[in-house]
């Protein structure tokens, strides 16, 4: 990996390390009530703290001319600073800029806020009840607040539903009428947090009416656009630079602290840096808590006749990208199965909790928890082996998904069979070991889409010194993006990849890319880089052909030289060829797009230009006296198409399994009346090395000539579902809510015994 040594030795410069002379430090005053009207904000004491330069409240923000005080990637519902209302415990009520971080924190603690508390709602189903307190008054035509920016969002005006995504395929009523058996179950997942090692950090600078922000963000271009919107600037007058990040996992998708840093810099006329504390991380973005009810119609022979889904995504106080999460989860929840009649209603719902947004797995972990648990319930009800039941129903190449799109390069069955074989699946069995210990195995399949439509551009250049440079806006979050992009350029140009420079994303300097999300970069940006590098190769070949007076076809590129094949003496260096053109650097451009989109009312169209496919399989041991689950072996099989870098690809699979273990067994944000109970790493735990399964194995499935398939997330969603299925098998009862804490498992065992008794 290109920056491995810098990361391990601490020499790498993260956005947290960015600094400028005269820089101020920001701190936030945050709401302590879940929902309330701001009656009074007293900043006098804060302004007296030595070193404090500014305290900005909602009232100040409102008075600033020409500013649009709200923002949001899909619905403009989030104020830069609360204007008149707070909507969750942690909402920003005021911002402080001071000479030192300490003065800023101290002053923030001295700002007193009086609230008139309003009724609050925390559960998405309660939030949809008539008479529930409304978080936002979304209106179709209001210019500044509540504007659905993203095509195809369907807010339900007058309710807390900020997007309703539907799939309608076939006729579910007929499908259920034809069924021999109809099953229904409700599944839940809690909010969890990303816990990236590096917190959110941004530095904002205004210079000659131009805004520059250095930020650890996965979305430089969205951030540029949103900042331009807030400050009423053309996008060209905003520049976003992205240093490498110390992890993100989705928490740095879309602006989160950049508007606030930029506002303080705007007000003070000085550069301002904003870095979140760990406890602030916990109230800044979470993974959606969900409630999903699935109804399944089945024939005795194992065919599925109908599937009806009602899904609720608790998006918290601001929509963020929740509407899109509900959409992606809406089709993800159908599963990669042959089902003629499908109806999905997937609702993204506001509540008075911290905002939820992107999280590694992007809706599919929650969707898979519900849909793959349901598949095991169905197999049990039919008396079929869950492996056999899935194999009978899995989509095959050329078959049609619930969205109406035909799937190609389909490998679900192969992924599942390999995962099952890896853990020695022998059918739905349980093995008692004595002393209340039971072992069993579980399976799950995953289907995950990639952002569609989207676009990636790249430039690849070579200068007079022969240095090859990749200009790409794909951000480096530790996933190894720079390494694979360097490799793809190096491969086309015949240089060692270690010698390729990949510049940090900079909206002034690196070309457009949608964003670094959705496991799309190696495929989308990889193709753009490859295209640019191949164009550059052609140009170098042509230039050399002229100089050497041979046909380009007779030339080869070796170690930064172009030479007549097999004739090292004829070699011209890249540098010589560039110099001969009279230019400083030869640069070629590449672009790669995918096309599609879904009708939001029927869910018909192209959900994803290609699909991330995988399966998980686990063996667990349950101590039935305590309910404690130990994962003995976890395996993930992922369709990779073509692996660019085996080492980082393997680490992605293993990292996904680790995330899956946390989700499966203990990660959960706990709220008491909207107040987060565990906002620190002592009360909110992520897996440590000692929590990992004794055996963690995986497959990367390749096909000669196949496209690259992203794999940053695929192996995560099936893990909790496979663990849930194994536990259900072991104890003869199903836990329908994550995480599978010992207490939940023990209660399920007791409930089972109660029913029998």
């Amino acid at each position: 990996m290109i920056d491995a040594v810098e990361r391990v030795t601490g020499r790498i410069r993260f956005s947290q390390d960015a600094s400028l002379p005269g820089m101020l430090h920001a701190a936030a005053v945050r709401s302590v009530v879940p929902h309330g009207r701001i009656a009074r904000v007293d900043t006098a004491a804060a302004l007296e703290v030595p070193g404090v330069v500014a305290v900005v409240t909602g009232e100040d923000l409102r008075r600033l001319p020409g500013l649009r005080p709200v923002y949001g990637p899909q619905i403009e519902d989030q104020p830069v600073v609360a204007l008149d209302r707070v909507r969750y415990v942690g909402d920003i009520v005021a911002l402080v800029a001071a000479e030192t971080p300490r003065a800023a924190q101290e002053a923030a603690a001295l700002v007193t806020v009086e609230y008139e508390e309003l009724p609050a709602v925390f559960d998405p189903l309660d939030a949809l009840e008539p008479g529930a307190p409304l978080l936002h008054e979304l209106e179709p035509e209001r210019p500044h607040e509540g504007t659905a920016l993203y095509f195809g969002i369907r807010p339900q005006f007058g309710t807390n539903c900020c997007n309703l995504f539907r799939i309608r395929r076939g006729d579910v009523a007929r499908g259920f009428a034809e069924a021999d058996l109809v099953l229904e179950e409700t599944f839940r997942t809690p909010a969890i947090q990303h816990v990236a090692m590096e917190p959110h950090a941004a530095l904002a600078l205004w210079e000659d009416g131009r805004l520059t922000v250095w930020s650890g963000t996965q979305t430089p271009f969205n951030t540029r656009q949103i900042l331009a919107g807030i400050f009423g600037l053309p996008v060209e007058r905003v520049r976003v630079v992205v240093p490498p990040m110390g992890g993100s996992y989705g928490c740095k998708v879309f602006p989160r602290i950049e508007p606030q840093a930029a506002l303080l810099a705007y007000v003070t006329g000085r550069p301002v840096k904003f870095v979140l504390r760990r406890d602030e991380e916990f109230v800044t973005l979470t993974r959606h808590a969900t409630v999903v009810t699935i109804r399944l119609g089945l024939k005795r022979d194992g065919r599925i006749t109908a599937r009806e889904v009602r899904a609720y995504w608790n998006t918290g106080a601001y929509a963020d990208c929740g509407p899109d999460v509900a959409r992606k989860g809406g089709f993800g929840i159908v599963g990669p199965y042959r089902i003629p009649n499908v109806a999905v209603d997937s609702r993204c719902v506001y509540t008075n909790l911290p905002p939820a947004g992107a999280f590694r797995g992007y809706a599919v972990t929650q969707a898979t928890w519900a849909s793959e648990s349901m598949m095991d319930l169905a197999a049990d009800a039919l008396g079929l082996d869950p492996l056999e039941f899935r194999l009978r129903n899995l989509l095959r190449d050329g078959e049609t998904f619930a969205t109406g799109e035909t799937l190609h390069d389909v490998h679900f069955a192969e992924c599942l069979e390999r995962a099952a074989a890896a853990i020695g699946w022998e059918g739905p069995q349980r093995r008692e070991l004595g002393d209340g210990r039971v072992r069993a195995k579980g399976l799950a399949v995953v289907m995950k889409g990639m952002t569609t439509p989207s676009r990636s551009e790249a430039k690849v250049g070579v200068d007079r010194s022969g240095q090859v440079t990749v200009y790409s806006s794909t951000v480096e979050l530790g996933q190894g993006a720079r390494t694979v992009l360097a490799q793809l350029a190096a491969e086309a140009l015949g240089v060692p990849y270690q010698q390729v420079r990949v510049v940090d994303p900079d909206t002034d300097r690196t070309p457009f890319d949608n964003r670094t999300t959705s496991s799309r970069s190696t495929y989308m940006m990889g193709n753009a880089v490859r295209q640019a590098a191949l164009a550059l190769r052609e140009r170098l070949l042509l230039a050399a052909a002229q100089r050497l007076e041979v046909e380009p076809a007779d030339l080869e590129l070796v170690d930064g030289n172009v030479r007549v094949a097999g004739a090292p003496a004829s070699a011209l260096t890249f540098g010589q060829l560039v110099e001969a053109t009279g230019q400083e650097e030869l640069v070629e451009h590449g672009e790669f797009r995918n096309q599609g989109g879904l009708d939001p009312d029927t869910g018909q169209g192209i959900a994803s230009s290609h699909w991330h496919q995988g399966a998980g399989a686990v063996e667990v041991e349950v101590d039935t006296r305590t309910g404690k689950v130990t994962i003995l072996h976890a395996h993930a099989s992922v369709y990779a198409g073509q692996v660019v870098n085996w080492h980082t690809a393997e680490l992605q699979n293993l990292g996904c399994i680790v995330f899956g273990v946390g989700s499966a067994l203990f990660e959960e944000l706990v709220y008491d009346q909207g107040q987060l109970v565990n906002p620190n790493l002592s009360d909110y735990l992520i897996p440590s090395f000692l929590d990992l399964p004794e055996r963690m194995t995986h497959d990367l499935i390749e096909r000669p000539g196949a496209e690259i398939h992203g794999l940053g997330e695929t192996a995560l969603p099936p893990i909790p579902a496979a663990v849930g299925n194994a536990v259900a098998r072991a104890i003869g009862a199903r836990v329908t809510e994550l995480p599978l804490t010992p207490e939940r498992v023990l209660r399920a065992i007791r409930a089972r015994d109660g029913e029998r008794g």
């Binding site: 735990l685 000692l690 804490t741």
Partner: protein, 294 residues
């Protein structure tokens, strides 16, 4: 975080002088793993932090003339878990400290600091109670040895006066035929605090009956739980499955547990039954019963 001054005295006398002068305003800092958290959360507002880092003579592991294991208050948990002397004399002590938090915390946290935090969700207090260990506390006024079982009063509260400093923890030796264990049960990550921890010590008599039994349950209530009437009732009896089951039942019934993120009160009651039984079985395994059939 509050405003405070930090001093780094070199001797115990200097520390005691500062504590006598500043009283509640001063707070000794040992490893600081717990104090840093509560300072950051604004739960304590001392104006003076008295660092014990440079104080000589507070760290070390020794065995005294009567065979007591003496752990200096500033001894790091990691030093105990890696001490050949502790493994030789009282392996259960090393085993227990090895279970605390994670290795990074154990390199920093200290024996004395851990007891003085009096955090209910902690491992060593239950074991040290079961082993009848004593805390040595000194001040300019007096020297006293406080049994660990009396030391912790409740949530983050000890009997320590503001001018007193813990210098040592003294753990009596066990008879060679005794069996002692500490069983830690975590419901979340392996680095989590205990949902419950049970320390059990059994000492056989010449007839293979119980000369002594100690069962202390930690992390389920605001201080380690010990039920003397239950322990008295099994003394002199054979440690068979029936008597183990009886102790487990009576502990489960006799303790009113708290609820937290690691388990509800209901769940903890269930786990007291399970883990008292498991701890006693494990202690029975370790004790020497050879040739002493009851």
């Amino acid at each position: 975080m509050a405003e405070f001054a930090v001093v780094e005295p070199a001797t115990v006398d200097e520390v005691l002088d500062l504590l006598a002068r500043y009283g509640e305003e001063a707070k000794p800092v040992a490893g600081g793993t717990w104090l840093a958290l509560v300072l950051r959360q604004g739960l304590l507002w001392p104006s003076l932090l008295v660092s014990l880092r440079r104080v000589s003579g507070l760290a070390g592991i020794t065995v005294d003339e009567v065979g007591n294991l003496r752990l200096g208050a500033m001894t790091r948990l990691r030093s105990i878990e890696t001490s050949p002397l502790v493994w030789e004399r009282l392996p259960v002590v090393a085993e227990t400290y090895r279970e605390v938090a994670n290795v990074r915390v154990r390199y920093q946290a200290t024996v004395g600091g851990n007891l003085c935090d009096a955090d209910y969700a902690s491992d060593p207090p239950a074991l040290l109670t079961a082993l009848d260990a004593r805390v040595i506390a000194v001040s300019q006024r007096r020297w006293r040895a406080i049994p660990v079982r009396d030391f912790i009063l409740g949530h983050y509260q000890t009997v320590l006066e503001p001018d007193e400093l813990v210098t040592e923890v003294v753990v009596p030796a066990l008879p060679p035929d005794a069996g002692a264990v500490y069983v830690k049960y975590r419901t979340r990550s392996h680095e989590d605090r205990p949902c419950i921890g049970v320390a059990a010590v059994v000492v056989p008599d010449a007839e293979g009956r119980l000369a002594r039994a100690e069962v202390v349950v930690g992390a389920v209530a605001e201080r380690p739980q010990r039920l003397p009437e239950v322990l008295d009732a099994v003394r002199g009896r054979a440690l068979d499955d029936a008597s183990i089951g009886e102790v487990a039942e009576r502990y489960a019934a006799g303790i009113d547990p708290l609820s937290d993120l690691r388990g509800s009160a209901w769940y903890r009651s269930e786990m007291i039954r399970v883990f008292v039984e498991r701890a006693l079985r494990a202690a029975r395994e370790r004790a020497q019963w050879e040739g002493r059939q009851p």
